[in-house]
């Protein structure tokens, strides 16, 4: 709408604006028709599904959980009201939250170390030529592909306080006492052992994934480069450190990122093995969030606990992705 002046005609500003708007199509249209703009438009068009996917499947749930975390929503009452940061404050007031936070970080770091070491070792083994290699490669991914409930049930039996096959084996070897003695480990009953037991299952389940990722990286390293390094007199570790790792670092970083996200948000292993016990010794943030948010129905507080994973993951993701980008150029 054009603003009219007190004298009846358009004022000076509107007139200038009109002049500009009349003149623009002539200047913009050729640019729109240019090859650059068409390439840009085509690029955005190709990008659109991915952006839409991220908005719908990542952005929307994230914003929704942010909304829940700042409301008094419960599972049975959708009419929630805004309560600001009360749910976050409630989490800080509970010492179970601090235990869960500490355990989550410790769990992820220790598991990552073991998965890195075992995954690398397995990847190197699988690189070697041997009979039945394809079959063995198929076998190693079984822990990763088995439904978590089935595999954890198996582990629960192996950790059973009375019938643990691990304990019976160690006992037969003379490494521990007999059942009922003081040095009979109660895997899921002693706080530190219980956490180690949970980490072991997580490592067992996921190190084949690390191995497969690394294997893909190793096979992409040209043999000529490795041969050249060998001619230069490098040993295995030097080749690994100075040739292989820098060449496959983008794959390593992405693998590490995925693994960290999966481990930090892994509810299944701990929930099925211990539910966070004994006395919260194995409680991690996803389990606590599930118990408070879903089982007890305090959706807002559960969402707030779950959101604490975000500040833990965000700096790590930014660092890794920046590092990755730097390497690309």
């Amino acid at each position: 709408m054009t603003v009219t002046s007190q004298h009846g005609g358009p004022d000076a500003t509107s007139a200038r604006a009109a002049a500009v708007s009349v003149g623009s199509p002539g200047r913009v249209a050729p640019w729109l028709r240019s090859q650059t703009s068409r390439r840009l438009a085509f690029g955005y068009l190709l990008l659109a599904p991915a952006v839409l996917y991220v908005i719908l499947l990542v952005g929307a749930p994230f914003l929704f959980s942010l909304y829940l975390a700042m409301s008094d929503a419960s599972v049975g009452d959708p009419a929630a009201s805004f309560i600001g940061l009360d749910n976050f404050r409630a989490a800080f007031e509970s010492d179970v939250f601090y235990i869960a936070l500490r355990n989550s970080i410790g769990f992820t770091l220790i598991a990552a170390l073991f998965k890195g070491f075992l995954g690398t070792t397995l990847a190197f083994i699988l690189l070697q030529p041997f009979w039945g290699k394809k079959f063995i490669r198929g076998l190693v991914v079984i822990p990763f592909t088995l439904p978590i409930s089935i595999s954890v049930l198996g582990w629960k039996w192996m950790y059973d306080s009375q019938f643990s096959v691990i304990n019976w084996f160690l006992s037969k070897m003379g490494l521990i006492g007999t059942y009922g003695s003081a040095d009979w480990p109660v895997w899921l009953g002693q706080p530190h052992l219980a956490l180690i037991a949970c980490i072991m299952v997580n490592v067992w389940r996921n190190f084949p994934f690390s191995a497969i990722v690394l294997l893909a990286g190793f096979t992409s390293v040209p043999t000529e480069v490795l041969d050249a390094a060998r001619v230069d007199g490098t040993n295995f570790f030097q080749r690994f450190r100075h040739v292989v790792v820098p060449m496959i670092s983008p794959i390593l970083l992405i693998g590490f990122l995925f693994d960290t996200v999966f481990t930090l948000s892994d509810l299944g292993v701990v929930y099925l093995l211990t539910q966070g016990g004994p006395a919260n010794a194995t409680k991690i943030l996803p389990v606590l969030a599930y118990q408070v948010g879903i089982q007890a129905g305090a959706l807002g507080r559960g969402a707030a606990i779950a959101l604490f994973l975000f500040p833990l993951l965000l700096p790590l993701m930014i660092l890794l992705l920046r590092n990755l980008k730097r390497r690309e150029y």
Binding site: D72, S74, V75, G76, D77, D86, A90, E93, S94, D95, V96, K156, Y159, D160, S161, Q162, F163, G180, V186, W187, L188, G189, Q190, A194, T274, Q275, G276, G277, P278, A279, N280, L288, Y290, Q291, V292, I294, Q295, A296, G297, A298, L299, R301
Partner: protein
């Protein structure tokens, strides 16, 4: 308009609406009552589908019977019935998902963790069904109401609960001149004596349902209470709690092993069946497991009434099971009719579950009851309904209590003390968690 006129007009509107409401409710209620009396489903449910979600029962034969029972009812009434079974621990998550989606099953089951108060605004009022059943079968046992009652209305139908009595090895008791475990003190003496001979006892001190149930039985029998009778505030921090915790620690030190910190709900079954335990405090699934896997031990396994804590004080905390109907269900009529039929046949359910399912209706306790009334070892279970309680005793099963149960505050407090934390520090932590959780709900 004068004040009188306003008043008249207002009254007139209210009374017309009120009349319609009352008349509608009366018509629906009498229709249901007639329907229940006549044992005939109304014509409008014919050709509909009824979807039921429930747990996988610990006694698989019960599930087989239930599915057949539901199908037969459906065939008779022209309703297609679909029953889905999932592990009971998954039910709260499934319930939340169905509520969020506004779609799913018509009838939904809750076991142990009863979420009526969380969802009641979205559940069908089943007061008519419960009143009809109560009238027909001599009323409900006192603790039933506390599970499903919100502001005087029943939003769920309690069908059965699971008892957890004392199961003891009579051969070991007799051989060691131990007295029948009629009090917790006698049970402790037995555990102390038998642990030294390789037969300790055990009550789970991990994060599992058994830990929540069994230790509460002991605590309440020592005169402790968890909340006010109206459920408004926690009453956990008390002299009774101190006495109980001292006793629990002594019981653990003298008669148990650290294995109990790792137990799940089936561990004590295995402990008894393996011949190790001198006694356990558990559901009769432990008895059945022993019957199926170790006949010699089973032969000398007997049941005892809930031990007394204080003289004459016995409280047995049971695992409740309740069925509810979603308000979004398009087949509420069929759901109500099916539940009425189910409660009419709760004794058959008790038979099919091998005595595991205990009814809530008073007349069902006429001796001899099916299965347990004809088994000399199990007949003592018939005396339990008077002492049965649920979480939150003596108050109802409120939402703060459900959070306390689901985050295992009570067993964790005992675990802390048994692991060496001082009595007062354990109580400070435990009662602090109770207060914190209650305060959150008060604020909301």
């Amino acid at each position: 308009m004068s004040e009188a006129q306003v008043s008249t007009t207002h009254t007139s509107i209210v009374s017309r609406r009120g009349f319609l409401k009352v008349a509608g409710a009366g018509a629906a209620g009498s229709a249901l009552a007639t329907m229940l009396d006549a044992r005939q489903a109304p014509a409008q449910i014919k050709g509909t589908t009824l979807r039921i979600l429930q747990w996988s029962h610990f006694i698989p034969a019960y599930d087989a019977w239930y599915d057949k029972f539901a199908k037969e009812w459906g065939d008779k009434n022209g309703v297609k019935v679909r029953v889905d079974h999932i592990p009971h621990l998954e039910i709260p998550a499934r319930m939340a998902a169905e509520f969020a989606a506004g779609a799913g099953h018509d009838i939904i089951y809750n076991g142990s963790s009863i979420l009526t108060r969380l969802y009641y605004k979205n559940l069908v009022d089943l007061t008519d069904v419960s009143e009809a059943a109560g009238k027909k079968y001599g009323g409900w046992i006192p603790s039933a109401r506390s599970l499903v009652d919100v502001e005087g209305r029943w939003y769920g139908l309690p069908i059965f609960y699971i008892l957890a009595p004392m199961l003891y090895r009579k051969d070991l008791f007799d051989a060691n001149n131990l007295k029948y475990p009629d009090t917790w003190e006698l049970a402790r003496v037995a555990a102390r004596t038998m642990k030294a001979k390789g037969h300790p006892t055990g009550i789970a001190l991990a994060q599992c349902a058994d830990a929540n149930l069994m230790w509460r039985s002991m605590f309440f029998s020592f005169g402790g209470t968890e909340a006010e009778p109206n459920g408004s505030a926690p009453t956990i921090d008390s002299k009774e709690l101190r006495e109980f915790l001292k006793f629990a620690k002594a019981m653990f030190d003298e008669g148990m092993t650290p294995e109990v910190f790792s137990w799940d709900d089936a561990s004590d079954n295995r402990y008894l069946a393996s011949g190790i335990a001198c006694w356990v405090h558990d559901a009769i699934s432990a008895y059945r497991t022993t019957e199926d896997t170790n006949p010699p031990v089973f032969k000398s396994t007997f049941l005892a009434l809930e031990p007394q804590g204080l003289p004459g004080k016995r409280v047995s905390v049971a695992a409740p099971n309740v069925w509810m109907v979603w308000k979004f269900s398009k087949n509420q009529q069929a759901a109500k009719e099916f539940l009425a039929h189910l409660i009419d046949n709760d004794l058959e359910g008790m038979v099919q579950s091998r005595g595991y399912n205990m009814p809530y209706l008073t007349d069902r306790y006429k001796k001899p009851m099916p299965v347990i009334g004809t088994d000399s070892k199990l007949e003592i279970l018939q005396d339990f309904p008077k002492i049965v309680a649920f979480y939150g005793y003596p108050g109802p099963s409120t939402t703060p209590i459900q959070e306390i149960v689901n985050t295992f505050v009570f067993p964790d407090m005992i675990t802390r003390h048994c692991r060496g934390q001082s009595l007062e520090d354990s109580i400070k932590w435990g009662s602090g968690e109770y207060r914190r959780i209650y305060a959150k709900y008060k604020q909301a």
